[in-house]
Symmetry: C2
């Protein structure tokens, strides 16, 4: 049974193993700095489907199948997933043929953190022996839904981020897997809204949510940032990352080079014209599964705080002039190498 | 720690108390057969807000405040909630000022079952001492998003259901509350899609998901329907309920008068012109919190299977000709009276 050590932090009773990870990315992501690290790169953004929405569902399904194949499992006890599309349709249609108990979640780009936290809680609590946790997004489907049809060729401001096409998923397991990293703590964030209204500046909207959960964690545990080799927030991008550093400094916590943001890592912002960085549920999911998971398996990093961050507005609420609520969810992961 | 007794069923180690329940309903619901049972009935469908979407968020916030007030608690450890609006905006904006760790979920009209199951798992596993689980919907916001603008005055076929306006929420607690009913088992459903494509016949789309989880539960536990005083599915309505009875009969299980559907209970279909019944996340949430919760507290029923059912399509997927995936999630609740 887990132990709560503060309002936001629970320490697991027994380690939950991240037994496997799978990453499937789009063409642009494959051309970026992490291109070589992805398990699979799709050159066709339609994946042979007739719509971008169904292309994303296919990505979800094929990455889940890949996760099972890589892990040697034939099934899991429960799947936990979400995405950015209205009514979570990428996940719901992606998992509809998988015939496994399913928990649909909505945390926008914090989804991977939320899914891993719920999965760890279900395993720690005895509700499952194995769980798949995943998150997806698709640039074309997201642009169509959130902003303007691609055919309009709208200009993007420098504060905007680029929605990542891809799916990242992990297989969580109660059974020990030699060398696999473990989840040791689960962090659940609060909705934070500082009044930012610009949907082209989501980094600024989300930074306070990340900063507030980070600060709460350090206060609840008495730890400082140097407890971790890597602290990775979700997809704040360049604008949001700078704000998090400032907000933490104001609380007396220095985030040095060990702090990174998945939104900055996934693209080469200059050569790939992605402005403030990457975003979308798949952003942190891909950076974790393709890069940090392997570094944890290899022992290149020993302890990591993975904290994806989500902007919780809808196009309707933005059109109605509402500000952008945001949230962050995190997991502490340790290498067993 | 919970014990899994099958792929879909987990038995809690210790009882999770449903310490309190709160129900806030719209005008039409207040005029229905359960009208007298709701804690609060709003006569103004806008709740003083400028949009239906924000009216639903206000409903969420005010019902949460009411839940706390009724319970005597000043806060809970975690909130779990969802709704039907794009990007879960009713829940996200409803909970943004509540300053509590938050888990956003999407399960369409199965949301209340999913939220109660996750809440019970978090408490059973030691991640929280108290949790609020809730679900909301709003007729006008849902019609605008899913079907046609109300001003068009479109005709509704007899198979269609009426989206319930309201919010139902429960306060789950590890600490014993004298006389409060307890959650003893959590049932997690799979996505089921039998190819139904008509978004005006969601009962037919969802019935197989409810039937499949019911059948799985009876097979996994060796029990039969008479183990329960009440089995209540989500919002299948008249069409879906009939199908569930037929599907269960084909598996050898007789669902007699102890089987009800929340979508049938909430309106008087003849005098209220609601055709096949009520639907929406708030349908089962209101029927449970306003009616069955009290019957469990009073000992009028001793054991209940509460199983809300959700249709997981989006307007986009329906327009693209896709069928309607569906899911059900359940909790077994016992009276302590």
């Amino acid at each position: 049974m887990a132990v709560r050590i503060g309002r936001h932090t629970a320490v697991l009773d027994r380690p939950v193993y991240i037994a496997e990870a799978a990453s499937s990315a789009g063409k642009k992501e494959g051309e970026g700095p992490l291109g070589e690290m992805f398990d699979r790169v799709y050159q066709d953004s339609m994946l042979g489907e007739k719509s971008w929405e169904m292309a994303e569902s296919r990505l979800v399904k094929e990455n889940f199948d890949l996760l099972l194949k890589k892990s040697g499992h034939t099934a899991v006890d429960i799947c936990i997933a979400g995405d950015l599309l209205n009514q979570d349709s990428a996940a719901n249609f992606g998992y509809r043929d998988i015939k496994t108990p399913f928990i649909g979640i909505y945390g926008a780009c914090s989804t991977m953190g939320e899914a891993m936290g719920i999965g760890a809680a279900f395993i720690d609590g005895g509700f499952a022996e194995t769980a798949a946790a995943g998150a997806s997004s698709h640039f074309c489907a997201a642009e169509k839904q959130y902003r303007a049809p691609l055919g309009m060729g709208s200009q993007r401001p420098q504060t905007s981020t680029w929605t990542v096409t891809g799916d990242g998923a992990v297989l969580l397991s109660r059974a020990e897997k030699k060398g696999a990293p473990i989840i040791t703590e689960v962090l659940t964030g609060e909705i934070t809204d500082m009044g930012v209204k610009d949907p082209n500046n989501m980094g600024a909207a989300m930074a306070p949510a990340a900063a507030s959960l980070l600060t709460a964690y350090f206060k609840e545990t008495g730890r400082t940032p140097d407890y971790f080799d890597v602290i990775a927030t979700g997809d704040l991008g360049l604008v949001g990352k700078t704000l998090v550093i400032e907000l933490l400094a104001a609380e007396g916590y220095v985030l040095d080079d060990r702090y990174t943001d998945c939104g900055i890592e996934i693209y080469d912002s200059e050569s790939q014209d992605t402005h403030s960085g990457g975003s979308g549920c798949a952003c942190s999911a891909l950076v974790f599964t393709a890069k940090y998971y392997k570094m944890l398996c290899d022992g290149k990093i020993k302890r990591m705080l993975f904290m994806p961050t989500g902007a919780l507005m809808s196009p309707t609420t933005s059109q109605q002039g509402e500000s952008i609520p945001a949230i962050a969810h995190g997991v502490v992961i340790e290498s067993r190498c």
